[in-house]
Symmetry: C2
Amino acid sequence: MARIRNENSPSRQALLDAAIALMIERGTIEVSLSEIGERAQLNSALVKYYFGGKRGLLTAMVDDIVKKGIAQMSGLLDMKLSPAEKLKIHIKGVIRLYFRYPFINRLIHSMLEDPEQSKHVAKTISIPLATTQMALLKEGIDCGDFKDIDPMMFYFQVIGACEQIFFAKNTLKYAFGVQEIDDSLQRNYANALVKLVLGGLEVERSDIAAPAVIPE
Amino acid sequence: MARIRNENSPSRQALLDAAIALMIERGTIEVSLSEIGERAQLNSALVKYYFGGKRGLLTAMVDDIVKKGIAQMSGLLDMKLSPAEKLKIHIKGVIRLYFRYPFINRLIHSMLEDPEQSKHVAKTISIPLATTQMALLKEGIDCGDFKDIDPMMFYFQVIGACEQIFFAKNTLKYAFGVQEIDDSLQRNYANALVKLVLGGLEVERSDIAAPAVIPE
């Protein structure tokens, strides 16, 4: 792990912002330290100073991006909304994050391959995300809105479904003829997933939902 | 693309089988040509002869494994089963493939990063898989069993959900304390996904499913 110095330094943040901007523009995480330094108008040696190197910078980027998302999601739990509404916001939020930062899943996947970094991912992303989801599911199950499902299975299935379209961009291109994911596609993708998941999760209230049958 | 020589040669198949066995044992695709040669009791130079090199061998492995799965899935369409039953078999089949060949998604992902290889993945895997799924969904929609959904969204969401637990093994370990995916876990995972997906996809037949209400 890189030593963390001056977590709030403007130069540190400028390097993070430059790296994020470059990776969004290029659609790849292969960006050199000198390019990052140039974009931030700072000496690229500062990357080593603040983050201990490129790997530390990548970790800090993921933390920076995901931290805000995780904080918003735990805030969801306290809102005065139905569990289904909360889950809808949760799923749309995860998909929007992948849409805004197209390199993020590639980055997280590469971290997951490394035993040390994958512990960090678990601590800062997977555990908080799974904990929020679990609380949300419990709320829905307790009030009888949701079926009693296994939150671990749900976690992997929903996160996998959220990220797949962003990960498999070449499949999108060659198998479906879609060249890029624009805002409208990411919204449609989120809406389709919300429908599928809530349809599978919500308890059918046939006593409320079914149209009245008039006996002959 | 590697030139294909003697597609049916026993030595070629022996090299493929050796590579698959080693990758299953080791849980990684980082296996050297000399190790593969040794396991197959063949000169590792034959890898270059049959497959043009390691990359060609990896492509041939994916083809070999996935081909059978794809053939089984298209066979599904002609079976005398309800669309829901067919979809159940389809989802369980995809998950079992990831379970039996734990390296396969890592391999496919690394191919998807390369423009040339990703065209090959699209042609041999994604397009046949998506085509089968589409036909299966159409059958269910036409007979009124399934809701009218977008097959492209469904494709990414279901495939993403199928593979995530196998891809994020370190998350499984560090966030959920599960050390490995055994046969029972893969079955439970498949059953949970089938329930979620069919629950979201099937048209509620409240006229059939709802318990009879006796008017007072």
